[in-house]
């Protein structure tokens, strides 16, 4: 009996040991931080803020690729700039692409569907940015800071960061407003989990963005006072100006006076045009540049991905083009239809330096969209510096070029257009000064203009802002996007161009999102 009790005792001891093992089931992932540690210091906040900006510029947490933010799409194709650019440019007269990736020819053919992989990627990219901003805004609320005993200068700096996150969120929401019109809507008051966000519409979203941008005005850095790459008051004004210029499209109500007010606020904040237009798209375009209001920053060594300006440069070089012209290249994808070069007095830049096209074996007319030689190549973005040196990447794959989200040139054009559209608070005389400043900088040989029309502004926007992601929005505002009144080669998939259904002014919400979120109703016509 004694021995039995020994057995029982040892068995119980064994059990006790095992139960104590249960705490070994609490394991933590390596090389990561729980949020409590992240938000313990100002430096931690800054690193999350870097992700907020980085989610707009890059594709994931591992450069150039390997740990993407957005699932279900090839990572190199999942970045904001590449997708936004395709949605805004490939659907217009400014660009065609030779590739045959599923969905990519839909843009030019204007027959995209709700399963288009690029439109899906862009929608998910924008909502991801919003969710990330929500998290930062939640974690940087005043009560959270005081709860974490963060006070003084650190608290002030984080307050500024919080306003920037709200700005980035407003920007992502503006993209959703412009392209998708009626997206799902979340704020910092929503949880992280598996819930169904409600749907918003253009009018509501317009109001929300407007309110947000005005609300953060007090917290953002003064114009041109913040660090390069970070949003300041002028960035918020610039977005408001852009929002107001398109107010009629978004809400049915003109807001041209407000567009004048806010573009003027930016213009008066001390920005100036970069002396040489052709420097705007160079590898060192971040240096000594008084024109940029807010950029997405790329670096051929430290900020790499297969989208962004790396895409813009590599994809625009192909066929027999001299690879050294742009410093990178050979993907042989994107060119322009003849409508863009036709706006210039000469395709080689004589008479207007903004014309940056490659002729050689490239031809003006497009017989075959899949043939890179059909259509002039565009070398607005080149990974060379002002002195002619190559960018930093010794392997000549990744670009250093920063992508401007807002620059002074656009503000001049908003001012001029809003004045012409009947807004008050500005004058045509002042507008002419701005328009001629752009012409002067472009070394336009023709005489300065003494008057202008709305059509002139549209054409001037194309000359000044082409390939910067504006064209689709501009054509819609001018009622020339889907209508048969304005055509370009292969518009709607027809060689001479054709009008398409008006539903194409708004992109469809991805089918996978419609399926996942029962609160969403698909945009009309899709």
């Amino acid at each position: 009996m004694k021995r039995i009790s020994v057995y029982i005792a040892s068995m119980l001891l064994g059990m006790a040991l095992l139960v104590s093992c249960h705490k070994q089931l609490d394991r933590e992932p390596p090389n990561t931080l729980p949020s409590a540690n992240v938000y313990a210091t100002e430096g931690g906040y800054l690193q999350v803020l870097a992700k907020v900006y980085g989610s707009v510029a890059l594709t994931g947490n591992q450069g150039p690729a390997g740990d993407g933010d957005v699932a279900g799409i090839d990572e190199g194709t999942s970045d904001f700039v590449r997708l936004f650019w395709k949605a805004q440019e490939l659907s217009t007269d400014e660009a065609v692409v030779a590739w045959n990736d599923p969905g990519i020819q839909d843009f030019h053919n204007m027959n995209w569907s709700s399963s288009n992989p690029m439109l899906k990627g862009l929608y998910y990219r924008c909502t991801y940015i919003v969710t990330l901003c929500n998290e930062f805004i939640r974690e940087s609320a005043a009560d959270k800071l005081s709860g974490r005993s963060i006070t003084g200068a650190s608290a002030d700096n984080i307050k500024k960061m919080r306003a920037e996150a709200r700005f980035i969120r407003a920007f992502a929401n503006w993209v959703l407003l412009d392209l998708y019109a009626n997206p799902g809507f979340t704020t910092e008051n929503d949880p992280i989990g598996k819930f169904n966000p409600p749907q918003t519409n253009r009018t509501q979203l317009f109001g929300y963005i407007e309110t947000e941008l005005k609300a953060i005005d007090g917290d953002l850095s003064n114009a041109r006072a913040g660090e390069y790459g970070r949003a300041d008051k002028a960035a918020a004004w610039a977005l408001l100006a852009r929002l107001y210029l398109n107010a009629k499209v978004y809400t049915g109500t003109e807001k041209n006076t407000e567009a004048i007010t806010y573009s003027k606020k930016v213009i008066d904040a001390g920005y100036g045009l970069l002396s040489n237009y052709r420097w705007l798209g160079l590898a060192d375009n971040h240096l000594n540049n008084p024109e940029f209001i807010l950029t997405l920053n790329y670096d051929g060594i430290r900020s790499k991905n297969f989208g962004g300006t790396t895409f813009l440069v590599n994809a625009s070089v192909g066929a027999d083009m001299d690879r050294n012209v742009s410093g990178l290249g050979g993907w042989g994808g994107i060119r322009t239809t003849r409508n863009l070069p036709d706006l210039f007095p000469d395709v080689n830049g004589n008479g207007d330096k903004r014309a940056q096209f490659v002729t050689g074996t490239q031809i003006l007319d497009i017989n075959n969209i899949s043939e890179f030689k059909d259509g002039l190549a565009v070398i607005k973005y080149r990974n060379r510096t002002r002195s002619g040196a190559f960018g930093q990447d010794p392997d000549r794959t990744f670009a250093d070029i920063d992508f401007p989200l807002f620059r002074l040139g656009e503000m001049y054009l908003i001012y001029a257009e809003a004045v012409k559209r009947g807004g008050t608070g500005g004058s045509e005389a002042q507008a002419l000064i701005y328009l001629n400043a752009l012409r002067t900088r472009a070394q336009v040989t023709a005489a300065p203009i003494g008057s202008y029309t709305l059509d002139y502004v549209l054409d001037e926007r194309a000359r000044e802002l082409y390939w910067e992601g504006f064209r689709r929005t501009d054509l819609i505002r001018y009622d020339r996007f889907t209508e048969g009144t304005y055509l370009w080669p292969w518009k709607g998939g027809v060689k001479n161009g054709t009008g398409v259904a008006a539903i194409r002014k708004i992109y469809p919400i991805p089918d996978s999102e419609i399926a996942a979120n029962p609160n969403l109703v698909q945009n009309a016509g899709y």
């Binding site: 064994g14 095992l18 093992c21 070994q24 089931l25 394991r27 390596p30 090389n31 990561t32 931080l33 949020s35 690193q47 992700k51 980085g54 890059l58 947490n61 591992q62 150039p64 957005v70 699932a71 799409i73 194709t77 990736d101 599923p102 027959n111 709700s114 992989p117 909502t127 969710t131 990330l132 799902g184 979340t186 929503d190 992280i192 989990g193 390069y228 790459g229 920053n297 670096d299 060594i301 430290r302 900020s303 790499k304 991905n305 590599n314 192909g318 066929a319 027999d320 083009m321 050979g330 993907w331 042989g332 043939e371 030689k373 392997d395 089918d511 996978s512 419609i514 399926a515 996942a516």
Partner: protein, 1039 residues
């Protein structure tokens, strides 16, 4: 001495021992040198592994040496008698009968002709002769030189013991779906990886080889798999140690570190009532591998040698150089025409070869120490070239099993130790695709030394064209990717018969599975594919450690009074998995670091832990009625405290009808049994380790963001589901086992319904609700129904001829029954099945109501000549537009029906056999045709020409039509996997028996599929490493 040398070393018998010692020396030297001297400064010292390996090795091999010496002394003993054992019924020889000396543990077994030879002490020695399926008999040696023994057959083998989880069970007590394949039934031939031993042998078990690379593994599916995104691999348990089946850096397949020659049996637990004792990890079935053990009796040695040659069985049908010239001249622009060359190069011929290989195995089995210490010791060496040039796989294995009993047989010790070291050189498989697409009008070499001297496409600036394909021969020869992987699996089990409680045993099992892979991938700075980045010189390194502790009590008691038998097991287990992944910067060939690629963290060391409690109760009444109850509860570190424990019960019933009086004396029915069971199992394998924890991770140095003049590493919050929990599978299983005419015809008919709930799956979630648009979460249900038939017959059984035929048939159809967090009838499914061509394209979907990963495509329209019309598809929803709403569900990559046929015939000393496998109803998407069989493939705007698939001549498609169902083909097939012949030469010298074997593997395939191979996991035919045809010659010596 190099590894290659000793294959040419001593081949004569006396040399074998020498060879064994040499192998040991080489192994110790190699391992010590790798561990102790050549540890790259890049790596942190792998302290733990060094220690374990060094100690284990030193001890194991020292022990082996001792055993070998002892074995020599045991050899020379007493008098020798010979005899022959025959079946009293028909006089046919009884092979594999056991012959032991009564009162000792010494013994032998009979050969194929029923003969045996045994050393005895004197004429009074009594021999005990017995065999499975027969009774046992005793005979006194006397003065006869040749003994003749008749054995009488018993009705069945129901008292045979089967290995099940945590112990063994009598076959008659089995209530669940258990299949056993033992070494005598294994697939024969040159097999490099264990699972191939049972390919085609078991109903409900599909083993699909991953490709033809040497040492590459297989996809194993039991009843088709129960999950969608979590693992569908069965749990593999080797000698009681659930092994880590995940990949290890540098190994094509973690199982190839197990030498198939060391395996005795496979037991496959197919349904939860059988597998529930492994509850948490048993959803996809369990494969129990038992290695060969020490056997009491005199020491026997076995040596086998195989030489084999592999040939590329098939090539991809590409256009010839002349056809390319004709197409370019007809359709190309003038600049494209100017690109044409004058050569005619068959690139596939340039990259493949006939590959030779050799495989040696030596083992010794017996008992030393007056029969008290049974042991088995073995060594193996395999050296195999790949049919893709430059590839090579070498494997050195050693195993030791000690199975002593102590304290009056109260304590049984079971020590199993396996060590393997593989050396790989991985051929650049990128050459396979490039050999298909590289312009055949070009020569292999250029006149310049640049790009390694190989002809390459270049840009106007002389640099390699960015998006062009590369010279396949250059891809092979400019890259050197070598690795070495060490793995050791071992356990020691103590089984103690507790005194004064009859039938109660305590069992403690301590085990480990450690592996370590390291290698280096270098590409010269001259190679075109990495020319811009100036080559590659990157090391890789990984360690995996899996520790196990299991403790259980087992109580078996017969209660004669109530005619009952009770078998009760209860225990607990702890298993812990640790990983170490070395992070290295990206290096150029020169060793210079690619700017910005320095890693933030030197290593990544994740891990997880499992704790379990389990019990099994088997009650048998009157040897006829059996009830089995299983229960297991598991805790895992992969779920939050609230969700981490799962409870998995099962219950099953069996009725041994043939034991009933009305059948007991039947001469027709020798076995009839009905079984039925219900059980629940869980799943947490193949999922993220920390998916429920909200954490932030830091970006690497190439993904920083610029603020002002400084660059900031980004902190990203990861997606998480705090509510992550166990995926559970419930299963109903019912079966009839039967045997007729003394089991001349036997088999099983089995049906099951399996439902998996709370599927762990990656699904689209509403945008904005988490830090991802696709979350790994519990969502959806899947349901499978299946039927399995196994039939084994002995068609002929006479004195000289025996012919056995085995057929197994499986029908299994899974269906997804739910998939979304919010059910939506319009949901078009989760995209899966990524294809080549374009970016992010998928050809399959998980759709509710359909089979997983069903193809989702357009319906092609054909012209009057039955040629597909490019881009013209049927408007299935009749809305006037052809868009994604016209995509339709179109077949599944998985077969509905599987077939396995095995035949073995022996005529006197000759044997012959074959194994055939078939599958019916599986479809294949020819991605190779859809991607490379169009004009656009040959002519492009990027400044180079490429070759295309001959299918272009059928379609004349200009652009890729990836989603056309033209590219979907029925890939049902019947494959002759293996044909083998053998000749038993008998005793060629004193005490030396020789057997000669020959076989051919992958003999032929009957299929309508037009591509290279109809059997590709996942049903997407891209560029694959072709499965070779293998010709094998082998000898086997027993002495």
């Amino acid at each position: 001495m190099s590894l290659d040398e000793f294959s040419n070393e001593q081949k004569r018998l006396p040399g074998l021992l020498l060879m064994f010692l040499q192998m040991q020396k080489v192994l110790i030297n190699k391992i010590q040198s790798t561990f102790l001297t050549s540890i790259n400064s890049d790596f942190l010292k792998p302290k733990l592994l060094i220690m374990i390996f060094k100690r284990m090795l030193a001890r194991a091999w020292a022990l082996m040496l001792v055993l070998m010496v002892v074995a020599q002394t045991v050899f020379a003993q007493g008098k020798t008698v010979t005899g022959k054992v025959t079946d009293s019924g028909d006089g046919s020889p009884v092979p594999n009968a056991s012959v032991t000396i009564k009162g000792t543990n010494r013994g032998t077994t009979t050969d194929a002709s029923g003969s045996f030879r045994i050393a005895v002490d004197n004429n009074n020695t009594v021999l005990v002769i017995s065999s499975v399926g027969f009774g046992s008999t005793e005979i006194t040696v006397g003065s006869q030189a040749e003994l003749s023994i008749n054995l009488t057959g018993t009705q069945s083998n129901l008292n045979e013991v089967v290995v099940v989880g945590y112990g063994t069970q009598r076959k008659r007590d089995l209530t669940g779906a258990v299949a056993t394949v033992s070494s005598k039934d294994f697939v024969k031939g040159a097999l490099q990886t264990p699972e191939q031993l049972i390919a085609g042998k078991v109903a409900g078990v599909q083993i699909t080889p991953n490709g033809g690379a040497p040492g590459s593994g297989s996809r194993i599916r039991i009843r088709g798999g129960a999950s969608l995104s979590a693992s569908n691999d069965p749990l593999i348990v080797i000698d009681g140690v659930p092994v880590d089946n995940g990949g290890i850096a540098g190994a094509t397949n973690p199982l190839n570190l197990i030498n198939p020659n060391d395996i005795e049996t496979f037991t496959i637990l197919k349904d939860p009532s059988a597998a529930a004792i492994y509850g948490s990890r048993a959803s996809n079935g369990v494969i129990l591998i038992t290695t060969k053990k020490g056997k009491k009796g005199k020491i026997k040695l076995n040596f086998s040698a195989q030489g084999f040659v592999q040939t590329p069985a098939n090539k991809v049908d590409v256009l010839t150089a002349d056809e390319v010239r004709a197409i370019v001249n007809e359709k190309g622009t003038s600049s494209q025409k100017a690109l044409l060359g004058k050569e005619s190069t068959d690139w596939q011929d340039q990259i493949y070869r006939n590959a030779f290989a050799q495989d040696f195995n030596l083992s010794a089995t017996g008992a030393v120490g007056d029969g008290k210490l049974p042991f088995r010791i073995s060594g193996g060496y395999l050296n195999q070239d790949g049919i893709l040039k430059t590839g090579n796989f070498k494997r050195l294995t050693g195993s030791l099993n000690l199975n002593p009993t102590m304290f009056n047989n109260k304590l049984k010790l079971d020590l199993n130790l396996k060590i393997a070291r593989t050396e790989n050189r991985f051929a650049n498989e990128g050459a396979i695709g490039n050999a298909i697409t590289f312009d055949p009008t070009k020569p292999i070499n250029s006149s310049s030394a640049r790009y390694g001297g190989y002809w390459e496409w270049t840009d106007p600036d002389g640099l390699p064209t960015q998006l062009s394909n590369r010279n396949p021969v250059g891809l092979l020869n400019n890259r050197t990717n070598t690795s070495e992987v060490l793995r050791s699996i071992g356990n020691i089990a103590f089984d103690y018969q507790i005194p004064f409680i009859k039938g109660l045993r305590a069992n403690l099992n301590l085990g480990y599975d450690v592996s370590r892979g390291q290698g280096r991938n270098t590409v010269t700075d001259s190679a075109a594919d990495t020319y811009r980045r100036k080559g590659i010189n990157n090391p890789y390194y990984q360690e995996r450690t899996n520790k196990l502790m299991d403790f259980y009590f087992n109580y078996v008691q017969n209660f004669k009074g109530i005619n009952s038998r009770v078998d009760f097991t209860a225990g607990t287990g702890y298993q812990d998995f640790e990983f170490y992944n070395f992070n290295h910067p990206d290096r150029r060939y020169s060793g210079d670091t690619v700017p910005g690629s320095k890693q933030e963290f030197i290593s990544q060391d994740p891990g997880f832990t499992l704790i379990s409690y389990y019990g099994r109760f088997v009650y048998t009444l009157a040897n006829k009625y059996t009830v089995t109850l299983n229960a297991r509860t598991d805790g895992t570190s992969k779920f939050s405290k609230a969700n981490r424990w799962g409870f998995f019960p099962s219950a099953a019933f069996a009725w041994q009808i043939s034991e009933e009086n009305f059948l007991k004396n039947s001469t027709v029915v020798s076995n009839l049994k009905f079984r039925a069971g219900y059980g629940v199992t869980g799943q947490q394998d193949g999922i993220p380790f920390y998916g429920f924890i909200p954490v932030y991770s830091l970006s690497n140095n190439q993904a920083q963001y610029q603020f002002g003049n400084s660059y900031v590493n980004m902190l990203r919050p990861g997606a998480y589901d705090a509510d992550l929990r166990w995926e559970t599978t419930s299963n109903i299983n019912a079966a009839i086992d039967f045997g007729f005419m003394n089991d001349r015809i036997s088999g099983t008919l089995e049906g099951f319904i399996r439902k998996t709930e709370d599927l762990l799956s990656t699904v689209p979630i509403p945008a904005g609700s988490n830090f991802t648009n696709r979350l790994f979460t519990n969502v959806g249900n899947i349901e499978s129904k299946g039927l399995e038939v196994t039939l084994n017959t002995t068609a002929v059984k006479s004195k000289d001829v025996e012919w056995n035929i085995g057929v197994n048939f499986t029908y299994v159809v899974p269906k997804i029954t739910n998939l979304l967090v919010n059910a939506d009838p319009n949901f078009k499914g989760v995209e899966v099945g990524g294809i080549s061509g374009g970016t992010g394209n998928t050809i399959q979907r998980h759709i509710v109501g359909e089979r997983p990963a069903s193809f989702y495509m357009y319906k092609q329209i054909y012209d009057a000549n039955n040629k597909p019309i490019e881009g013209l598809y049927e408007d299935l929803n009749r809305d006037g537009i052809i868009n994604e709403n016209d995509l339709h569900i179109n077949q599944s990559p998985e077969a509905k029906y599987y077939l396995g046929i095995t035949s073995n015939i022996s005529v006197k000393r000759f044997t012959a056999g074959f194994v055939m496998r078939g599958s019916i109803g599986n479809y294949m998407y020819s991605n190779i045709n859809s991607n490379m069989g169009v004009l656009r493939q040959i002519l492009n705007s990027l400044g180079f020409l490429a070759n295309g698939i001959k299918d272009y001549q059928n379609t004349r498609f200009v652009n890729n039509q990836y989603f056309s169902d033209y590219y979907l083909q029925n890939a049902s097939f019947l494959r002759m996997d293996n044909i083998n012949v053998g000749y038993d030469a008998g005793e060629i010298a004193k005490n030396v028996r020789l057997r000669i074997t020959a076989n051919i593997q992958n003999v032929f395939v009957i299929t309508k599929y037009t591509g290279l191979d109809p059997e590709i996991s996942g049903g997407i035919d891209n560029t694959i490493y072709p499965r070779p045809r293998t010709y094998v010659l082998g000898i086997n010596l027993d002495f």
